[in-house]
């Protein structure tokens, strides 16, 4: 039932939460470990790729730059060569005597320089002297006036003239190159240069698979490209980024940082350029990025594969690691959850050989201990429940017995009182009164016994343990029962002993009284022997009788309240004696043993410690009762809410010569005292008053008005433990109803004699049955 109750709630709610938490922990660790492993891997990979890429680009740019510079130099050389040749031709003009000679020179020039399609010699005045062409017949001494043309004037003025690039028949790129002589009369040599020859230079430049070199003129027009058709189509490249940049940049810049741009085909290329110095042309070397990056891609792929493999490995190992880490934790978690839900027989199984395993084992230890204590507890609860049931039963039985035992003398009392109402003789009346007395004292005895039990149960008795000679008790008990024993024809023998025992004298006397009373009561023949026996350091106080004996199966029961052996019912007695003995022995820590044989008798043995004998002081002589009655004329305040009790008490007190002030409450008492103009000498207050006030409060109240030293007693009909304890704690002497008039008188006398002393305050509880 317990398991079910505890387990049903959390158990049904737990699986979802646990699994999500497990997932969290697993994910957390997995992510952490994967991150730890893969971040450096990725960073390293990225750095490697980046540096490879940079290195590769740098080397590509350097290579392309070298190629561009080389090709540029070659083209510049090509142009310079023509320039020089023309210079020579101009010089030769002066040296040669005939035009025929000059013509030969010119044809030689054409043979040597295939790029020159046509050569023209102009004299100092600007007249054409000679024109030699590859395609047409030579023209000698045409005298055409070229003196106003730029190729003549510029060449004369600046020695060299580079004409703009033009396209013959709209397709072939040409340039006019003219060279003037040192002297004006040397004239000018003009060459029409077919720039398709630069193709030889640019087409020789191999940049990877599909890299290209090409040349643009100062206007950005294409004049040399491996794809001759592009050149022939007179392509304008001035809008390309790299061309714009090259044309705007300083032509002397030797090293080009390279530029990623579009080429003429619209592909992304890495372009590096070199300026061709004398012409303001630009040579570009371009490599498509697709191709340029092939090694980078390859290395990227390789790095990527390694990275991927690394990551995969990292993930797998992280997975395994995390599983190994998290699994025992899960085991612990689910185990704890199950144990927490009440499954105490669950055991956690972890065999990782580390702290987690130790933790699991500790968990298991804890659980098994918990399981054990749980079982013990259950057993105890069962036992206690059984005990409680038994106690309840006993209480019921107790009540039934008590009421029965009270009814008997009450019944007898009623009969006796009825007898008194009849007109009877004085002798007979004396007999009846004696019987009433006996019935009252039987009731009194029963109430005292009940009170003793109650006090013992309430734990209000504090034993006062001292060393004393046992003989002192023996004397008194012997005196008590001598008559009764003699009446029944029994021998009552107390073996004289000079032993000293360590106990509470009064309580031990009660024990002995009860044991002897019992023995005398239940023994019909033979006798009772009381004696001390030494048992090592201990002493054994033994009471033996020759009664009917107690059967084995009832030995424990005889110590219960109102327990009487069935065979002995009607023998008198209340069945409380042994219960009191048992409780007292418990209180004093004395062991009590019972040995009995049916038909032979019983022996009760109380084991108690020895005490060192002291010199016995004689009891202080009993104070001789003063002849002067101390009660006479004293003001006694009685507070009780019961009118009958007030009247009875008032009558009794007045009979004793006291001035009795009877009140229902403390306030009423004060009012009455003021009316009389008297101070109280002693207070007697009922414990339980109206409006749930207590006698303690009343006493406090009156003492507050008339001084702290005012003697007071509490009278109570309660046998419940709580009021007993409260009264004891308040320090006031507690009398129990019914109060024997003699006892009340004795107490009042003592209190009034000691005057304002606090002697009336009882330092400890006492037993009602004390005599």
């Amino acid at each position: 039932v317990r398991d079910g109750l505890l387990g049903s709630g959390p158990r049904s709610a737990s699986p979802g939460r646990h699994s999500s938490m497990r997932g969290k922990l697993f994910r957390k660790y997995l992510v952490l470990i994967v991150t730890i492993v893969s971040v450096p891997l990725l960073a390293n990979g990225a750095y490697e790729i980046w540096s490879t890429f940079r290195q590769h680009m740098t080397s590509l740019i350097r290579l392309q730059g070298e190629q561009a510079d080389g090709a540029g130099a070659k083209i510049a050389q090509f142009i310079r060569e023509i320039e020089n040749q023309l210079g020579w031709m101009t010089q030769l003009t002066l040296a040669s005597d005939s035009l025929e000679q000059q013509r030969f020179n010119a044809r030689l020039l054409l043979r040597q320089v295939p790029a020159i399609t046509e050569f023209t010699q102009v004299d100092g005045s600007g007249r054409e002297r000679l024109r030699v062409s590859r395609l047409a017949m030579d023209v000698v001494d045409s005298g055409i006036d070229l003196s106003r043309e730029a190729r003549f004037t510029e060449a004369l003025a600046r020695k060299v003239y580079f004409g703009p690039v033009y396209f013959r028949r709209e397709s072939e790129p040409y340039m006019t190159l003219a060279r003037g002589g040192a002297r004006r009369d040397a004239g000018v040599s003009i060459a029409e240069v077919n720039l398709k020859f630069i193709w030889d230079v640019v087409s020789q430049i191999k940049v990877g698979e599909s890299g290209r070199a090409y040349v643009v003129d100062t206007n950005g027009r294409l004049i040399a490209h491996p794809d001759i058709s592009l050149v022939l189509r007179n392509t304008d490249l001035s809008q390309l980024e790299q061309v714009k940049l090259a044309r705007s940049s300083d032509r002397s810049g030797p090293s080009d940082p390279g530029l990623v741009s579009m080429d003429v085909y619209g592909r992304r290329v890495l372009a590096v350029h070199a300026a061709i110095a004398p012409l303001d042309w630009h040579l570009f070397v371009e490599l498509p990025l697709d191709e340029a990056n092939v090694p980078v891609y390859a290395s990227l792929r390789a790095t990527g594969l390694v990275l991927l493999a690394g990551l995969l490995l990292a993930v797998i190992s992280s997975f395994i690691m995390t599983r190994r880490m998290v699994r025992p934790i899960h085991e612990l978690q689910t185990g704890a959850a199950r144990i927490g839900a009440g499954a105490l027989d669950h055991r956690i199984r972890i065999s990782t050989g580390d702290e987690l395993q130790a933790l699991g084992e500790q968990f298991n230890d804890m659980t098994s201990r918990l399981e054990q204590s749980h079982a013990t507890l259950e057993k105890k609860v069962d036992e206690r429940t059984k005990q409680l049931q038994l106690a309840n039963l006993a209480k019921s039985r107790f009540l039934a017995a008590a009421s029965h035992d009270l009814r008997q003398p009450l019944h007898a009392l009623g009969l006796f009182v009825a007898q008194l109402h009849l007109d009877v003789g004085a002798e007979e009346r004396g007999q009846v009164i004696a019987r009433i007395d006996a019935a009252v004292s039987a009731m009194n005895e029963l109430f005292n016994a009940l009170l003793d039990i109650s006090k013992l149960d309430a734990d209000v008795l504090t034993p006062k343990v001292t060393g004393f000679p046992i003989a002192r008790i023996f004397d008194r008990v012997e005196a008590t029962f001598a008559d009764a024993a003699a009446e029944k024809g029994l021998t009552l023998r107390f073996c004289p002993s000079n032993a000293w025992v360590r106990s509470d004298m009064i309580l031990l006397e009660r024990i002995l009284l009860n044991l002897v009373s019992n023995a005398v009561r239940y023994t019909d023949r033979g006798g009772v022997v009381v004696g001390m026996r030494r048992q090592g350091n201990q002493l054994s106080l033994e009471v033996c009788d020759t009664g009917s004996g107690i059967p084995d199966d009832q030995r424990q029961n005889v110590f219960g309240e109102f327990y009487q052996l069935s065979s002995e019912r009607g023998a008198g007695g209340l069945g409380l004696g042994l219960a009191i003995v048992d409780r007292l022995c418990d209180l004093l820590c004395h062991r009590i043993e019972l040995t009995s044989r049916i038909g032979k008798g019983s022996r009760f043995a109380v084991t108690l410690p020895r005490a060192a004998p002291e010199r016995e002081r004689p009891d202080p002589p009993q104070a001789i009762r003063s002849i002067d009655d101390p009660l006479r004329g004293k003001v006694v305040v009685v507070v009780d809410d019961d009118v009958l009790v007030r009247d009875a008490m008032g009558g009794l007190l007045r009979g004793w010569g006291c001035e009795a002030v009877m009140a229902a409450t403390g306030t009423a008492a004060i009012t009455m005292l003021e009316k009389l103009g008297k101070r109280p000498d002693v207070i007697v207050s009922d414990f339980r008053l109206q409006e749930s006030r207590t006698g303690i409060e009343v006493i406090e109240h009156l003492r507050g008005v008339y001084g702290e030293g005012l003697p007071a007693f509490l009278v109570s009909g309660d046998t419940a433990p709580e009021p007993l304890r409260a009264a004891t704690d308040s320090g006031n002497y507690l009398l129990h109803k019914p109060v024997q008039p003699i006892k009340l008188r004795a107490l009042l006398s003592q209190a009034l004699k000691s005057g304002a002393n606090n002697s009336s305050r009882a330092p400890r509880g006492s037993l009602a049955g004390q005599r």
Binding site: F104, R107, L108, L110, R111, P114, A115, S133, R134, L135, A136, M137, D138, R169, E170, S171, E172, N194, K196, F197, E209, S210, P226, D227, I228, S229, L230, L232, R233, N234, T235, D236, L237, Q239, L240, V264, Y265, G266, R267
Partner: protein
């Protein structure tokens, strides 16, 4: 500004297309040959002459085509049509190729071929290879056409006639007359003759023409020239002559007529002298253009290519055989002197 990227010239590896079709052919090894043929582009190759002498030039064409990624019988089919110098057959041959829906029509040799092709189609790309001026021949409006379906290359031989005459006169010193050997079937013949006549006049030479329509005419024509003491002969740029190099050179030798040719191949075959550009380069150029068109280039984006190198070749042994002496000034200018 953007242009189609050409296929790499020095590609050692076949293009993607060839790989794909190679794969396809491997898969369909015994499969339908038709599907295979359809997947493969077909080039129609028209030549005004016959295959024999064109072989070396064809090699250059095929090389260039292969470099552009197209290998004959691997991933391109070439349908050859030879007019055997009978120019009247050209139209039929062109029609045949157009009917076959070729991807590119190549027209080599006399400009009649490309002209017939141009007449036959405006959709099939035409790549010509001729010796004359393509503008004069009416093939293109200019060398950088930018529209139309025709492009090609010329070894720019026809316009060099006057130059050849000039050089020949220098070689032979004091000749007074010269003759142009023409193929009257060539549409350029008349124009060439008039241009040469003008040049001859300028040089102060008597000038006339010799006709040769076939190899059979060579001996008659050259014999006549020899008998008439014609000092020199310039051979007109024509596929017939180019196609029959050996026969023409042999005939010239038999009749001991100093002859100026338009290709160095004549000189290596024993001809006296030549001035002109390389025809092999032209074939190579045509092959390159065909490859580029097969790869998706438009003919309009491909300008007509002219040669840049013009070479003077002289055969010294022929000079000696003819009992001539080469002036040192000319010898010094020769790009190639063949012993």
């Amino acid at each position: 500004m953007t242009a189609k990227e050409p296929r790499s010239r020095n590609r050692a590896w076949p293009g993607r297309r060839s790989v794909v079709s190679g794969l396809a052919s491997a898969v369909l090894l015994s499969g339908t040959a038709r599907a295979q043929r359809e997947a493969r582009p077909v080039v129609g190759f028209l030549h005004s002459a016959s295959p024999e002498t064109a072989n070396r030039n064809l090699e250059a064409f095929r090389d260039a085509l292969a470099q552009a990624g197209y290998r004959e019988d691997k991933n391109v089919t070439i349908l050859y049509r030879w007019a055997e110098s009978r120019y009247d057959r050209l139209n039929d041959l062109v029609a045949e190729l157009v009917d076959r829906r070729v991807s590119v029509l190549v027209a080599m040799g006399a400009s009649d071929g490309p002209r017939a092709a141009k007449r036959a189609t405006t959709s099939i790309p035409i790549v010509f290879g001729i010796g004359g001026d393509p503008i004069d021949a009416g093939l293109v409006a200019n060398l950088n056409p930018q529209s139309g379906n025709v492009t090609g290359s010329t070894f720019f031989s026809t316009p060099l006639g006057p130059k050849r005459l000039e050089i020949l006169r220098e070689l032979l010193g004091g000749i007074r007359s010269a003759e142009l050997m023409i193929n009257p079937d060539n549409v350029n013949a008349k124009a060439e003759l008039s241009r040469m006549s003008a040049a001859a006049r300028e040089l102060g030479l008597d000038f006339s023409s010799l006709n040769a329509i076939s190899v059979a005419d060579y001996d008659a024509a050259l014999g006549t020239a020899a008998r008439e003491k014609i000092g020199a002969i310039v051979v007109m740029t024509d596929a017939l002559f180019n196609n029959t190099t050996e026969q023409l050179v042999a005939a010239a030798a038999r009749h001991a007529v100093p002859t100026m040719y338009f290709l160095r191949e004549f000189v290596t075959a024993g001809g006296l002298i030549s001035y002109g550009a390389s025809i092999i380069n032209m074939y190579r150029q045509v092959g390159d253009y065909v490859g580029r068109i097969l790869s998706g280039a438009r003919p309009a984006d491909l300008p007509v290519v002219q040669p840049t190198k013009f070479e003077l070749a002289i055969n010294i042994s022929t000079v000696k055989t003819l009992g001539l002496a080469v002036p040192s000034s000319l010898l010094a200018l020769a790009d190639e002197v063949i012993e």
